[in-house]
């Protein structure tokens, strides 16, 4: 079946602009995760959605970052007033309930803020 898809694959934006990154999880996966991967760094947890529960936003680095998940499926990560330090690869993953150890990742969106 189809894996996790993300769009766009690459995004170049000017400092101060807003960007939206999209994630389509695997059908049937109720859990959805966003991570950020900076050059030479491990994956940094950003936010977690599980079904209809309130999301865990504890990893969001600032209030410029927000995310939503509509209809328990597609998710959008929004970064407002982008800064150069936001440049990174943003990865989305999904899993079935109670199998967080088995996360399936999308290819990521490479964000460059100029």
């Amino acid at each position: 079946g189809a894996g996790v898809s993300q769009s766009p694959s690459n995004k170049v934006t000017e400092k101060g602009k807003d960007v939206e990154l999209r994630c389509d999880p695997i059908s049937g996966h109720t859990a959805l995760y966003w991570y950020r991967q900076s050059l030479g760094q491990g994956l940094e947890f950003l936010i977690y959605f599980q079904g209809n529960s309130a999301p865990d936003k504890s990893g969001l680095p600032s209030d410029r970052f927000s995310a939503e998940r509509t209809g328990g499926s597609v998710s959008t990560l929004t970064i407002q007033r982008t800064q150069q330090e936001d440049s990174a690869v943003y990865l989305c993953a999904s899993s079935v309930l109670d199998r967080a150890y088995e996360q399936y990742f999308g290819p990521g969106t490479r964000l460059t803020v100029t």
């Binding site: 030479g40 491990g42 940094e44 947890f45 967080a100 150890y101 996360q103 990742f105 490479r110």
Partner: protein
């Protein structure tokens, strides 16, 4: 101090060599220990996972966990050029959903 420490390498080995990758961690609540493989410009993919201490073998790959010393290892036997990738360890506490990723070790297997 980071929760998970992993030597970023890079590691370069000849084809057929044994590759040894390691992580240390500080959180004693970790119970699941995953290894993800990430090819260049791709998302990570789960390679294998171990629950609690012990060894697990899957083909040419062996994962070891020693909870007493908080040490995680991955061994790749008879390494192939197709094993060239970045390997990330990612432990998780029981009943949690947050994976704590190491920085990843980049491995190159020379033909």
């Amino acid at each position: 101090q980071k929760e998970v420490e992993q030597d970023p390498g890079p590691l370069s080995v000849p084809e057929g060599a044994i590759v040894s990758l390691n992580c240390t961690y500080s959180n004693s609540a970790f119970q699941y220990f995953m290894w993800y493989r990430q090819y260049s410009r791709k998302g990570p993919e789960l390679l294998m996972y171990t629950y609690s201490s012990g060894n697990k073998e899957d083909g040419r790959f062996t994962a070891q966990v020693d909870k007493s010393s908080k040490y995680i290892s991955l061994f790749i036997r008879d390494s192939q050029p197709s094993d060239s990738a970045t390997y990330l360890c990612a432990p998780e506490a029981d009943n949690d959903y947050k994976l704590s990723f190491g920085a990843g070790t980049t491995v190159t297997v020379r033909a």
